[in-house]
């Protein structure tokens, strides 16, 4: 699947296009198919996202798994500070990145 | 491109600006346009003939035009020195300090933002061709 991701302009938080808006959670990401470029341009112009990028990913049960390790780290948080990650209650969260 | 800001009292030069390459051959040209890759020093023998030098900024991140401007003013050029092209509000103050006295931005600038940007810094750390006393001169009253 093609996923659209970026950062929130004001807060810098990593965001994922969920079909209607920007979510902090990668599992909400939808397949943007061929439309990623148009959505990205519109959202950036409206200042709802900065540095949007279309990346590859796969559905993984309830979740979405970005193809590249960098985007998995973006999705989770720094692997060396899981206490700051989006899944701080999950001690195995770091394994998902690799 | 239209000149949006001009800090000179005299009349603007009427002649169109020719390229640096063709300037040497046209003994009656009084206006020239410098591109980033041109060497401003080739104009030094002709400064008293020049009424207008345009310095093109195709991309504002290409800072070669600042050195071109400084070089011309250091050599005594007193005609109009105009920054053209990708000129944004946030470059105006530095461009003024390098000797530019007119600006023809590709996209017109917000007047209030431009005026605020040019007036923002009360002092300067290093002397340039603009003649402003640097902070070290003010500290030691050698202005």
């Amino acid at each position: 699947m093609k996923i659209l991701t970026g950062n929130d302009l004001k807060s810098g938080a990593v965001t994922w296009w969920d079909g209607q808006g920007w979510s902090l959670h990668v599992e909400d990401a939808v397949d943007v198919g061929e439309h990623g470029g148009d959505i990205a341009a519109r959202e950036a112009a409206a200042r709802r996202v900065v540095s949007p990028e279309i990346i590859d990913g796969t559905r993984d049960g309830d979740s979405v798994r970005p193809a590249h390790i960098k985007d998995r780290i973006r999705a989770l948080g720094p692997t060396v500070r899981l206490d700051l990650s989006l899944k701080r209650a999950d001690p195995a969260a770091g394994n998902w990145v690799i | 491109m239209e000149t949006q800001f001009r800090f000179r009292a005299d009349e603007p030069a009427g002649d169109p600006a020719v390229t640096v390459d063709s300037f040497g051959e046209q003994t009656n040209a009084s206006a020239v346009r410098i591109e980033p890759g041109d060497d401003a020093r080739v104009l030094l023998p002709f400064l008293d003939r020049l009424r207008l030098v345009e310095v093109n900024f195709p991309a504002y991140t290409d800072g070669r035009g600042y050195s071109a401007a400084c070089i011309l003013r250091e050599a005594g050029y007193q005609g109009e020195l105009r920054a053209v092209g990708d000129v944004l509000v946030d470059q105006l103050a530095y461009m003024r300090r390098c000797g530019f006295d007119s600006f023809a931005p590709e996209h017109p600038l917000n007047q209030a933002d431009a005026e605020a940007a040019m007036a923002r810094y009360p002092d300067v750390y290093t002397p340039t061709v603009d003649g402003r006393a640097p902070i070290w001169a003010k500290r030691h009253h050698s202005a």
Partner: protein, 546 residues
């Protein structure tokens, strides 16, 4: 240390107002991102992997306890309770919001700090020797000269849109503690035969994709022409540095492509012209600045001995302290590399503790080193044990300066959008693997970069590690024999790369070769230089029987 006068304060205050206005225009749409990006970079604000990252300048690595305390408070108020000290003596915060950045800059300005020109294609923070002003082997304190450079380079109107970033370092000792030869301009302050002070200019060094050691282009520029000569070097670079290829845009490429002689000829011609323009600050300005770097009120006649009966204290003294120029005092390095820790990171509480310790034990002054540690420059020997106990209690007592556990590591793929591989987990694994052996191994400077941009300075490591992306999987190359310092050398790659566990094993094999073959008091680097790559390579790639 230097304290802002009203002029300096007005300039940083104006900069805060300037940036606040630029953020306003970004958020209301009058500035597009590609117009805003160079402006926010010139205020040290990156868009990074997880959020905005702010890089705060620590000029020549020196700061006061009040400034350090503010850095700790900023970590709590605006970030997630910690900061990262960098290989250019700065501090970085990783979780910054754009809308709060102007307020952070205002808080910094209130203690005479800023994030000006810590990124962007402009002149960056000028670094220096972390022991400046505290040790006997400098001919002068280099920091007043670094302060002159700081003021000259700040908001320089001609040099704010260079082909690429520009980094300078200033030292005043033959012992180069600032990796001076690996900078765009490195300056060593020297005396000529007549005893006059001058600046030796080394231009065109750097790391990154194409590491180069800077050649000396002028062995003696009279000190009252140092700024003018710097201006000449920058103007030639601004006019002729490559702008067609971001990876060939540093001055080292220009010097290399023109050749040292031609580059020097152009600089000298520009210098002759610029000398007619009165650009140099007057001697009175240098004297004004120097007066602020006078020695603190050292107490004479203090006891110069230490009770080393506590072995843990003795080890820390041996490894983490340096001889001070004043009897009865010592220079202390606080290691930010606890076993298994994140190199260079410190919590807000640790930062504030170090600020308090500086106030109590070190005349209010601290230094950040380019090895990502903190120095307390002037500590009384009769107070050293008390200081050490407080450091140890706060997890700041690691006795591993310049040993294999004292790893320099960039933030890597855990934090940095430029990275190809994570560097911190490798650092942690190495730190843990060697914790019991680091004293036996002795001096070994190990440096890890998560990508070819080399922010971890791996080219200058006795052991260097470079993280790469091998078909989407992290892979690590091993390099040996690099060195910063007067005998600067660039590390050489051993061969094919390794995965995260493999690289730790490879490092251990290399250190085993050293331990088996060292002679006399050789360090790892010395044994490597004596034996060459071959025995190391053979051991590293030897297939062990199953």
């Amino acid at each position: 240390m230097y304290v802002y006068d009203e002029y300096d304060q007005q300039m940083v205050d104006a900069r805060v107002a300037d940036f606040r206005d630029q953020v306003r225009r970004r958020l209301d749409g009058s500035l597009a991102e590609d117009q805003f990006r160079p402006l926010r970079l010139m205020n040290g604000l990156y868009l990074q992997l997880h959020a905005y990252m702010l890089r705060v300048a620590v000029p020549y690595g020196t700061l006061s306890s009040a400034q350090m305390r503010m850095l700790g408070d900023i970590a709590d108020k605006y970030d997630r309770g910690y900061g990262h000290f960098t290989t250019r003596q700065n501090i970085q915060y990783n979780w910054i919001k754009l809308e709060e950045a102007p307020d952070i800059l205002a808080d910094l300005a209130s203690v005479g700090m800023h994030a000006i020109q810590t990124s962007g294609n402009c002149i960056r923070n000028t670094t220096s020797d972390q022991y400046a002003g505290a040790i006997a082997d400098e001919i002068v304190d280099p920091r007043p000269y670094a302060e002159l450079i700081r003021q000259w380079s700040t908001f320089h109107p001609e040099f704010s849109y260079l082909p690429r970033k520009f980094k300078m370092a200033v030292i005043a000792s033959d012992t180069d503690r600032a990796a001076m030869r690996l900078h765009d301009i490195g300056i060593q302050l020297v005396r000529n035969a007549a005893g006059e002070l001058g600046a030796a200019f080394y231009v065109g060094g750097g790391m990154g994709r194409t590491p180069m050691i800077a050649p000396c282009i002028n062995a003696f520029v009279p000190i009252d022409q140092m700024i003018t000569y710097s201006e000449a070097c920058l103007r030639v670079y601004n006019r002729h540095g490559r702008r067609d290829n971001k990876y060939k845009a540093r001055i080292k490429i220009l010097v290399h492509e023109l050749g040292k002689e031609e580059y020097t000829r152009q600089v000298e011609a520009e210098f002759a012209h610029l000398l007619t323009l009165n650009l140099e600050p007057p001697a009175a300005e240098l004297e004004r600045i120097k007066a602020q770097f006078a020695d603190p009120a050292f107490v004479p006649g203090l006891p110069d001995t230490l009770d080393l009966s506590d072995p843990a204290f003795a080890l820390w003294v041996k490894n983490n302290t340096h001889t001070h120029k004043q009897a009865g005092y010592v220079v202390v390095t606080i290691s930010l590399k606890p076993t298994g820790g994140i190199p260079g990171d410190a919590s807000a509480d640790q930062i504030r503790l170090m600020a308090d310790l500086a106030a109590d034990y070190s005349f209010d002054e601290l230094r950040v080193t380019h090895a990502q540690n903190i120095v307390l420059p002037h500590v009384r020997k009769d107070q050293l044990h008390a200081l050490w106990q407080k450091l140890a209690a706060a997890g700041l007592g690691a006795a591993n300066l310049d040993q294999i556990g004292d790893i320099i590591a960039c933030p890597g793929l855990d934090y940095c959008s430029l990275a190809n591989a994570r560097s911190i987990p490798v650092a942690q694994k190495i730190s843990e693997r060697f914790a019991a052996k680091e004293e036996e191994i002795g001096e070994l400077k190990l440096k890890i970069s998560g990508c070819i941009n080399a922010c971890g300075h791996h080219h200058a490591g006795h052991i260097g590690i470079l993280g790469v992306d091998r078909k989407g999987v992290e892979n690590y190359q091993l390099l040996l024999g690099g060195c910063e310092g007067a005998d600067t050398s660039l590390a050489q790659i051993t061969g094919p790369g390794f995965d995260e566990n493999g690289i730790v094993d490879a490092v251990e094999r290399a250190t085993d070769v050293y331990l088996a073959n060292r002679e006399g008091g050789e360090r790892f680097l010395d044994t490597y230089r004596r034996l060459g790559m071959a025995p190391f390579k053979e051991a590293i790639y030897r297939k062990e029987p199953a």
